[in-house]
């Protein structure tokens, strides 16, 4: 236990800002997961692997001399089609099935993606340098890499665009209708098959954006997807489906929680603390539900 984080106000501030910037990025990945979970009732274990694939797209652009920031435009376009392809090949066969089947199917996709990425891109850890520099605040006591600020900004832009799109566009309305009641939507003429494909595509595109941002801010590696899946799962569990402000808040909350856990318990407990929090929240939810049940009795 180390309480250094509370002894210096600047470190507390640094931890909060780092956490928020990180959390916004997590929230973007989680939003994709919440969307497709809500619409198709599928928990996508391969979410993190889609993120990493997006990261590789930005990385290869960087290798060929294009600034990796353009990855946030190119990666979602490519990933959208990758998402549609995955839907057509696998997901459409499990979409109406038991949740367990879809978890197994996406788990399989996850393993396949890891191995394919390893085969195609090699097992080296790579990163794309943005050359964005650093912002120093409070007499150089708080340091924010501009790449993190850029990531958070782009994540917010994409999230806002998506919210508007879901509210205003025809497809957005169809997606929301399908999420509410797929059968009723079908009766009213919504082509749910197309809606499902588009939803999965949009989710993959969001993962692509997040991946491009991660290649700029952190590192990527074919086997690094799982922690992103877990974090987004966690955020969605806390926020609930279809609750976008909830996803954003719980994303940032998780980011700050992780940072503080890192300072107080040590970096080795960072991911562990996320798991612990997940367990606590699930237990709490169950406890709350059982009280409600008692009341109903």
């Amino acid at each position: 236990m180390d309480f250094l984080v509370f002894q210096y106000p600047m470190i507390t501030l640094q931890a909060c800002l780092d956490g928020i910037l990180l959390g916004v990025l997590f929230a973007l990945i989680a939003y994709g997961m919440a969307l497709q979970w809500g619409v198709m009732n599928i928990i996508n274990i391969a979410q993190g692997d889609l993120v990493i694939l997006g990261g590789y797209i930005a990385y290869f652009m960087y290798l060929y001399g294009i600034h990796p920031a353009w990855g946030v435009i190119v990666a979602p376009v490519i990933m959208y089609f990758v998402g549609i392809a995955i839907y057509k090949l696998v997901i459409n066969k499990v979409v109406d099935r038991d949740l367990f089947i879809s978890i197994l199917a996406t788990f399989g996709i996850s393993i396949l993606f890891m191995q394919l990425m390893n085969f195609a891109f090699g097992a080296d850890v790579v990163l794309a340098n943005s050359g964005y520099g650093t912002t120093m605040l409070f007499d150089n006591n708080v340091v924010l890499p501009n790449s993190k600020i850029f990531s958070a900004f782009i994540s917010i832009v994409f999230a806002v665009c998506l919210v508007i799109y879901m509210k205003k566009s025809k497809l957005g309305r169809a997606i929301r209708a399908t999420a509410q009641n797929a059968r009723a939507a079908k009766i009213l003429g919504v082509d749910t098959e197309k809606v499902y494909a588009a939803t999965f595509g949009i989710n993959a595109a969001l993962c692509g954006v997040a991946g491009a941002l991660i290649s700029i801010t952190f590192t990527i590696h074919p086997y690094m997807g799982l922690p992103y899946t877990i974090r987004s799962f966690m955020i969605v569990i806390v926020a609930g489906l279809g609750n976008l402000p909830g996803v954003a808040m719980s994303g940032m909350g998780l980011g700050v929680f992780e940072e503080f856990a890192d300072y107080i318990l040590g970096t080795e407990f960072r991911i562990g603390s996320v798991f612990l929090l997940l367990v606590l929240i699930l237990v709490y939810r169950r406890f709350k539900l059982s009280r409600k049940r008692e009341y109903l009795k």
């Binding site: 210096y8 780092d18 790579v126 952190f218 074919p222 080795e268």
Partner: protein, 412 residues
Amino acid sequence: MRLNKIILSFVSALVILFSTSVASLAKVVGDKIILGAAISLTGKYSSNGVHTQNGYNMAVDRINSMGGVKVGGKTYKFDIIYYDDESNPKRAAQLAERLISQDGVEFMLGPYSSGLTKAIAPVTEKYGVPMVEANGASRSLFTKGYKYLFAVLAPANLYLDVAIETAVELNGGKPVRIAQAFEQDAFSQDVRLGILDAAERTGSKIIIDDKLPKELNDMAATLVKVKQMKPDVLVVSGHTKGALTAIRQIAEMKVDVPMLAMTHCDAAKLSKQHGKNSQYALCASQWHKSLTYKDDFFKDGMTYAADFEKEFGYDPPYQSAESSAALLVFKDAFERANSFDQKKVRDALAATNMQTFYGNIKFAPGGQNVDKPMVLFQVMCDASGSCENKVVAPLKWASAKLIHPIPKWSER
């Protein structure tokens, strides 16, 4: 009754077939000495697995083309059976079992990484199969009392203690304040133990002692503490991820520290991926091509590097060099034992005392090489931004003078 007879003869036919097929694949076939190796050709260690395999292959070709191995007045050539362990320890142990009990291999070469070597060592030990390994440096491999395990490389705890000793020396012999961050895996934790020993020896104080998770890609919290507490040395070990993440975030957060020492700079292609940001980082290495060790097969480090590049198209990392050295050790041991008896070869290996282009090799009773010190190189860049690794310690091989303390970010 008749049915029983049929079953019995079928089973015995199978047994005979199986035993003859094993015999036909045994250790030495005709003029070939067959070695076995489980290597990570896929999975997370595949890059280093391939470096290891290239190192082995390069040495096999060289030894075979230069006369092979002379045992009992006859000349033999090396051959290796490879299996892909998928970077998975369980799979590696199964494959070692298969190499020994099905393929009849009686001499083994090591896999890549301490974790996989740890998985294989109990198997080779059980069957009394001598294994020369080149990529498992974890100290725990050498404290288990294994009799058939020999490692050509220096153990992990020696990786960075040179850095601490150098820092103390540069501090006028006075103790230094150390910040350290190590991944939670067998190798990095052994490097950490080495630093703890060095700190105790020199009276230095460890002021930050962070453990990094395996999924490490953010060590901002550690670096904030470093900024606040201003240690004299920052030591980081977390394989390639650790090296890349540390350099990226140190540069982004403008963390000023007089000395930065790390592992795996080579494998992370640090100077290529980070360019000038990686400048001044001190890196522990088992080998560097500029070292002046010599042997009859590869001549010296520079020649080895040139030949390797000609064959495989890239500069050899130390993982390849040490793998090549493992074959030289086997050749030497076979010739001294003048036999293929596993016990005799094992005893000959234990008595090894030789120089290779990679370094001197002499095994302690635990199996680790005690005659080859680690080297430290520093990443140095010129004005055009091209960076090179230059050996700075030990002084005997230094090709450049250590730059210390590292200039502040505001002055760069």
